[in-house]
């Protein structure tokens, strides 16, 4: 789908319904373009774990009469690897919508929401959306099961647990919340806290922190959607924490002469 070293070009073609003689309504086309950009940016934020998307796209082809559009990522050498990751993930997202909900579980809620916006015209006057990534073509025709469930299926569960990440974007107007930016997994998690914890939260801003509380999930996403904070612990400055190199081989007798695999198995059976 996306090969490092080659420029990213993504081409789209929309087909309107028969009642419009195959033409695409302008409102649907506008919604599609807006949703496409939102999806690419949501994927980039998810893949890079950054708060802001940096890749810029420009139009290389636009045919309003046949609702065809092609875009390419503006060449920015330091972003080339990210561009390929985003394009690949974008293609995987479209394929997941085409093939059904199961594959959608690996996408975060913001990406799924953006995909739902991008493909919303399929629930109105657009009959099909075809996307080309080089020689790979992904055609979504009509209301696939994946599309319908993408929009409608949300089952919420909750469990007590903890999650670590950098605290940022503190809001104290109205609801008290901040965003937690983990090292892996979801791009960010909204964390709601009681006003009494404000001092502790302020101290944690910009620091890597473990938040404990009620973690809410909106399935099928495996990632927390929201945490009701019960407590939080800011981690020490990384410079004061041991590095991997400093801990390597520190416990030569850890396995008491056993192979590590046998040792772990013995521990689990003890």
């Amino acid at each position: 789908m996306s090969e490092p070293g080659r420029r990213i070009v993504i081409a789209f073609k929309l087909e309107g319904s028969s009642r419009d003689d195959g033409l695409v309504r302008f409102a649907d086309f506008a919604a599609f373009i807006e949703g496409t950009l939102a999806t690419l940016r949501a994927i980039e934020r998810a893949e890079t774990n950054q708060r802001h998307a940096k890749i810029e796209y420009r139009i290389t082809q636009l045919e309003v009469s046949s609702a065809a559009l092609a875009i390419e990522a503006v060449d920015t050498p330091q972003l080339r690897d990210t561009e390929h990751v985003v394009a690949t993930r974008f293609a995987q997202g479209l394929a997941a919508v085409r093939d059904g909900l199961g594959e959608m579980a690996a996408f975060e809620p913001p990406v799924r929401d953006a995909l739902a916006r991008m493909l919303a015209p399929l629930r109105r006057g657009v009959r099909s959306i075809t996307t080309n990534f080089g020689e790979t073509e992904i055609a979504i025709v009509g209301r696939t099961d994946g599309l319908l469930t993408l929009v409608e299926f949300k089952e919420e569960t909750a469990a007590v647990g903890s999650f670590s990440g950098s605290v940022d974007a503190l809001n104290v107007h109205g609801d008290h919340f901040f965003y937690l930016y983990p090292a892996a997994g979801p791009t960010r998690i909204k964390c709601v806290f009681d006003a009494a914890m404000l001092g502790k939260v302020r101290d944690a801003v910009k620091r890597y922190t473990t938040v404990t509380g009620l973690i809410e999930y909106a399935e099928p996403s495996p990632f927390p959607q929201r945490i009701i904070v019960e407590d939080l612990e800011s981690h020490p400055d990384p410079d004061t924490l041991p590095s991997m190199k400093s801990l390597w081989g520190k416990y030569p007798n850890l396995t008491r002469g056993l192979d590590a695999v046998a040792f772990i198995e013995q521990m689990r059976n003890a």
């Binding site: 090969e3 040792f263 689990r268």
Partner: protein, 151 residues
């Protein structure tokens, strides 16, 4: 460029802490590759929270290490447990080694957090690498060289 993400299981952390005394020089070299990448912020490690209970006397140091921003420990909560069940059901149906709950937790964590690979030295788990019943997850001994599949 996004830093790379690996998942380490309890066996790998154990070999990290005991200096790989039961490992070959090549295997130790692979651990060092990953260590160097993590210490240079070029890679992250995700693992299951359960690992803290498996390395015994090294647990306190492991907890300190996991406080570094390059590490992420994941609670074995609802979505992970659901994935563990799926993995065990799928491997059983495929008549391949069915990982025990603890091993399946690391596999589920690697899959759901989209790690590039799960690193382990357990041959039974290594044999599951790439199989559909583990969603095609790459499972290999620790190494820092390119393991991403080209698309």
């Amino acid at each position: 460029m996004p830093s790379r993400l690996f998942c380490w299981d309890a066996v790998t952390f154990t070999n990290f802490f005991n200096g790989g005394i039961d490992r070959t020089p090549e295997e130790i070299s692979g651990i060092h590759e990953v260590m160097d990448m993590v210490d240079r912020h070029q890679a992250r490690i995700v693992t299951s929270e359960t690992v803290v209970g498996e390395v015994l006397e090294a647990a306190a140091d492991l907890e300190l290490l996991l406080k570094r921003p390059q590490f992420m420990k994941v609670s074995p909560s609802g979505p992970i447990i659901t994935k563990v069940k799926d993995i065990r059901t799928a491997t059983r149906a495929a008549v391949v080694h069915t990982p025990k709950f603890a091993d399946a937790t690391f596999i589920a964590t690697a899959i759901l957090y989209r790690a590039e690979a799960l690193h382990t030295f357990d041959d039974r788990i290594l044999r599951l690498s790439g199989l559909p019943s583990v969603d095609g997850l790459m499972i290999c001994k620790p190494r820092g060289e390119q393991t991403m599949l080209g698309l």
